[in-house]
Symmetry: C2
Subunit: 205 residues, 2 copies
DNA sequence: CAGATTACAGACTAGGCAGTCTGTTTAAGT
DNA sequence: ACTTAAACAGACTGCCTAGTCTGTAATCTG
């Protein structure tokens, strides 16, 4: 096997396992040794490939978390359909995996934002970058929807994006508690209510 | 000074300082020594009054967090006015302190729920108790509002409560990032939109 | 095949952690 | 004033943690 390929493969293996454990147990609550034990690798291997635990996590953000966000919350919004329909389906799908997945610990972004807030500004910056990517995409999608006549002309797309992100972060936190599917259902009914209120008024045409 | 009074006073001092540090730095990221250093007390004092760090935190939940939740999110909803107006003002006030307070690290409940999820079931149980108190109160307030003709007859009060709690948890997480006051403003405009959509339709009377 | 570089292994260090234990001071009761 | 228990002080233990360092096997290169 090519050397640089092997290097990439090992680094990716480490990042995937690291991501799983960090997500499940939290960054500060997961030791480098925990990750290495699961990988059956040694300290030497880890610090050969990464400068520090922090550097390791930053790379996980950029490689794995960014991709995950894109797949679940950005890519589903592409296309020229009604953005409100797309957003509804996108949120529904994202929450559905949470309902059926025992290993779901809430919204990845939201969890880590909470964990690092006030503790590690560098990591917070990297996380905020991803949040911004989502926000920008949401706003763009909404604005396009407005141009295409799906949204009411008076809606503030940035405000809608903030509200949508807030509610999604929050419901994912609530869903880790009891009866996630009931909470999902309740949430979705109200989300539809809200989205309907910013829909283009067909009466006006 | 009476002995039991002194005991209470010391325990309360410890809990207040512990709460501040836990909220700012997280439970797992705050050591008992950190708290004792700020208090200028010793290990002996701490373990004389509390069984363990966990026991200490559970008491903080029951004494300080429960009270804080009541003051900021439950008590303001009392009365026979329009619950939608009360909720709007309640959220606005709760977020306003966050805007002006440098030491705001998001919603206390939401932060700790995230931190302990999957790590400490006992503490999660105690936190969920408080969340339930909030939920029950919200639902009751909304139902009363429906009876009094402020809400549309068809609204699902439990779903509204879930949606409100979600959005509040989430926006508090978002607000710890950049430009909290702008986010607050955007959030509030959309919250009003949403609440208007579940208002009683005066046309029907 | 020789030598150089890569990709690890694992012992080790220094510091932090929750919790224990023994001792000392303070204050209440009599 | 003497006793007794409460309210601490602080050294100590055992364990965990991030990161270092030296050694070694595997692999590529000439």
């Amino acid at each position: 096997m090519n050397k640089s390929l092997k290097r990439m493969a090992t680094m990716q293996r480490m990042q995937i396992t690291g991501f799983e454990l960090f997500y499940a147990k939290g960054y500060y609550n997961t030791s480098v040794d925990d990750i290495l034990k699961k990988l059956e690798l040694s300290k030497g291997a880890f610090y050969y490939h990464f400068d520090s635990k922090e550097d390791f996590f930053v790379q996980i953000i950029q490689n794995l978390m960014a991709r995950k966000l894109y797949n679940s919350l950005i890519e589903p919004l592409e296309g020229h359909d009604n953005p409100l329909t797309l957003i509804t389906k996108c949120f529904d799908d994202a929450m559905e995996t949470a309902v059926h997945n025992e290993m779901d610990f809430g919204c990845i972004l939201s969890n880590f934002l909470t964990e690092f807030n006030g503790k590690n500004d560098i990591i917070i910056q990297h996380l905020n970058e991803i949040v911004t990517v989502w926000e920008v995409n949401l706003v763009t999608t909404l604005q396009k929807g407005k141009l295409n006549g799906f949204l009411d002309r008076h809606v503030d797309c940035e405000a809608v994006a903030t509200f949508l992100m807030s509610s999604y972060f929050g419901v994912r936190t609530l869903m880790v508690g009891a009866s996630p599917s009931a909470k999902k259902y309740r949430f979705m009914t109200q989300l539809r209510h809200y989205l309907k209120s910013i829909e283009a008024k067909t009466v006006n045409t």
